[in-house]
């Protein structure tokens, strides 16, 4: 609870800073503030509690995921220093919006009541619409914002309808009550319909096939930092929430529902990877790879009772490597009109460190050992096989093979092509974020138990 309040407070603070024109201080202060909040959150880890008659429920699950979100936000804000340096005037807005977005995210994982869930997801979405369109003069950014907005609000409508159905069936928004009642034998048909609708809405948010169409366009069009945010934070939040929602609603009991999940997960992996093969724009490529990763994450929904830990692990692994990758992309594509692979030619020569980091993060996404991505996949596979869905694992494996194809396209471009020009600038924060992110990734790769055991 305190986390949430503190975050909102921090958001407001950064707006106030603007008024008093402490622009320079905003980023450091917010980062420090977030670190403090991180500490605060972690301290709550072992004290599960619920506030405002179950509006907010603090549990191990919520705490660990919120901490992950906070960490990611810290990275993103650190990155924004360099990213926004040529329109300083709006800096505080951008930061504030990100922080509010974080608030929404936290609300989403720690909701105890569907109202809270709805508000959280809307806060998140609306902030994202704004960020996506934040580059006003750039038509691509506008288009991205518009597309995201239209489809997003459409999805919100679906979610809302689903919530409504659930309410109609249960006469309550409280998760605990609902899950208690859902045990009982005879339920009105509205309840499952509601769950399905909500699920569909969330599937849209995590960009799973066939609700994924927005992702590539929006990722490509939005400012790179926003893309980073969407592909890491937003996706992770969505999947975590969906997981929490479904486990609360005991949806995994239903076999045919699992079949749906299986199909969607396989479809997402395959479509995502296949489509990524021919992309020239790195952001777009990562969008599709994100879709395929969504497919992987969905595997966690097949063994709801046990897979919280592995989902946390997978999401952190994915998000961390994503952050590392995007920080390199931010560095490389600064002041470029596009993010095509061409820009990465010869990075291995001009800037070996960043090239190595990008390589590492890509390898992690591809699931090569010692990087966290490998264990993430491993634990998911293991659980899915336990759940008896070997076929999904087979598809997942085939897809991992395909994915190597396009991840390596980028690596090859960095190491085998000649550099088109040299970059002199060495922005400290970007380097710091990249290095820290990839180090974290490797650390949890070497010692998976650190994360895996949190929610075991």
């Amino acid at each position: 609870m305190t986390t949430l309040i503190a975050i909102v407070g921090l958001g407001i603070l950064s707006l106030i800073f603007e008024i008093f024109d402490f622009r320079k201080a905003i980023i450091p202060v917010t980062i420090i503030g977030l670190l403090a909040i991180l500490g605060l959150t972690v301290s709550e880890f072992n004290s599960p509690e619920s506030y405002y008659n179950n509006m907010i429920v603090v549990s191990k699950f919520s705490v660990s995921f919120s901490s992950l979100f906070i960490v990611l936000t810290i990275f993103l804000i650190a990155l924004s220093h360099n990213f926004y340096d040529n329109h300083q005037s709006k800096l505080s807005d951008y930061i504030a919006i990100k922080i509010f977005l974080l608030a929404g995210a936290v609300a989403m994982v720690s909701f105890g009541n569907l109202a809270m869930f709805f508000l959280g997801i809307e806060i998140l979405s609306i902030s994202l619409y704004i960020l996506a369109a934040s580059n006003r003069v750039n038509i691509k950014s506008n288009e991205a914002g518009m597309k995201y907005f239209l489809m997003g609000s459409f999805a919100s409508g679906i979610i809302l309808f689903g919530i409504c159905m659930i309410y109609g069936a249960m006469g309550s928004f409280d998760i605990v009550e609902i899950s208690d009642m859902s045990q009982s034998a005879e339920l009105p048909i509205w309840f499952p319909i509601g769950i399905v609708l909500v699920t569909i809405g969330m599937l849209f948010k995590i960009a799973a096939v066939p609700f994924h169409f927005w992702a590539p366009d929006v990722y490509e069009g939005s400012p790179t930092l926003t893309t980073a945010l969407m592909s890491t934070l937003a996706k992770v939040v969505a999947i975590a929430t969906l997981y929490k929602l479904l486990s609360a609603m005991n949806a995994d009991i239903n076999y045919s529902f699992q079949i749906v999940v299986v199909i969607i997960s396989i479809a997402s992996m395959t479509v995502g990877n296949i489509m990524a093969l021919r992309q020239v724009n790195v952001k777009r490529m990562l969008a599709f790879s994100g879709i395929s990763h969504a497919g992987f994450m969905l595997m966690a929904l097949l063994s709801l009772s046990t897979s919280a830990g592995s989902l946390l692990y997978y999401t952190s692994a994915y998000a961390l490597s994503g952050i590392a990758a995007f920080s390199v992309i931010l560095y490389v594509c600064k002041n470029r009109e596009n993010e095509d692979i061409v820009n990465f030619h010869g990075l291995g020569k001009t800037n070996p460190l960043l090239a190595a980091i990008l390589t590492a993060s890509l390898l992690s996404m591809a699931g090569i050992p010692i990087f966290a991505g490998f264990f993430a996949k491993l634990v998911l596979f293991s659980q899915t096989i336990q759940a008896g869905y070997l076929v999904v694992v087979i598809f997942a494996v085939i897809n991992s093979i395909i994915s190597v194809g396009y991840y390596f396209k980028l690596i090859l471009a960095m190491y085998t092509k000649e550099p088109n020009e040299t970059r002199t600038a060495k922005p400290f924060l970007i380097y710091a974020v990249a290095v820290v992110a990839i180090l974290l990734n490797i650390i949890i790769g070497l010692f998976p138990s650190l994360v895996l055991d949190l929610l075991a």
Binding site: I368, P369, F381, V393, V397
Partner: protein, 480 residues
Amino acid sequence: MNISLILIILLVGSFATYLAGDKLASKVALFFGLAATGCTIVLLNHFNLGENISYSSQWITLPKVSFALQADGLSLAMILLTTVLTAIIILSSFDNEFKNAKAIYALILFMSFAMTGTFLASDGLLYYIFWELSLIPIYFIALIWGNGDAEERKKAVVKFFIYTLAGSLFMLVAFVYMYQKAGSFLIEDLYKLKLDINEQKWIFTAFFLAYAIKIPLIPFHTWQANVYQKAPTLGTMLLSGIMLKMGLYSLIRWQLPLAPLAAKEYMYIFIGVGIAGVIYGSIVALRQKDLKKLLAYSSLAHVGLIAAGTYALNLDGFRGAVLQMIAHGFVVVGLFFAAEIIFRRYETRLIADLGGIRAQSPKFTSMFLILVLASVALPTTFNFIGEFTVLYSLSQVNIWFAILGGTTIILGAYYMLKMFQHVMLGETNTKTFADVTLSEGLTLVIIIAVLFFFGLYPKPINDLITPSLETILNTINKYN
């Protein structure tokens, strides 16, 4: 004092090499390579004194993975091969001028670290991790320091990487599946597992994909020749000398004991595959234009025979296979190095452009000839021991296997001598050919010495590997 020490030395070595800078890199790398070799020998000594030099510690609680390194005769033999060859390979490249030398030498040591781990790991997942890890360095070595047209090379190397990765991922699935049954990745627990024949067939196939691509066996070999040709010679040496042995070693250590029923059921098929590889490889080698490609195909033929020996599922087969692995490791490294020596002088590997070297370089010629003879398994060379034992084991299964597999000594002689004739003999070449330098000569002499020593006195290695092979055989026969 336990075997993790070797891994530590190699890992530290690779970082140290990178930090040492381009000037010192090769020296530092050689130092650590030799250190690893020495350490291996010391440990070997401890092992022979009956000490327990294995190492094991809990790593991941869930899934239950432990950092377990187990040294028995078999793995020690392979490690000896790895470390010695690593040192030799580093030594052999002393005369090369690499750009960004520190990186490549660091990668070499890192790769040998990963391969050592593969040979040591007694935990399925750990093994898999090392197995995959060894792929990364060779990928970059071949990609960045390789020769020939960049686009072609890229194509070949990426194909190699994806292909091998594809194979091994199925192995991973098999491992996870068995983990679900056994509740642990530890090899002894997996050995205890009693799977029914169908499960075993699937697992066998999954493993086979991984190994058939890595070794490679036909028809999964198409990456080999191109990569061997495009990679820098020391990369080729690593691939053909050691990495390929990972696959063969894994046949014995993992595939056969984990799926014995399937192994017995499919025995004839897979021996057949191996022998088909022997004949096919030898025949394709006959008309190769590129020296390295020819050697690649000869290697294909030899490993085919080795694989056939392992699939024969008897002690002689295993023993011969391991002996032949080691022998082939040395001889193939020597041969590729000879090719490199020629390349250093003439800037070409096209057999058509060579010839008439013998007159100018007696030393090199005789050493090259000895290597050629070793690779065609002339008695008193190490390769003869291996090949003889393997063929004998095949004759125990079915005399025709021995006869067909035995064609290698005819066809092998044919393509090797043909190659030698057109590369070395004939009218004196117009271009001058300086005889071997010190480091080159030293490298070759060491290799030749090894080949002859064990060719005349293979007993030490035999005594080292036999007990572990027998235990594995018992595991295979646990069902009846």
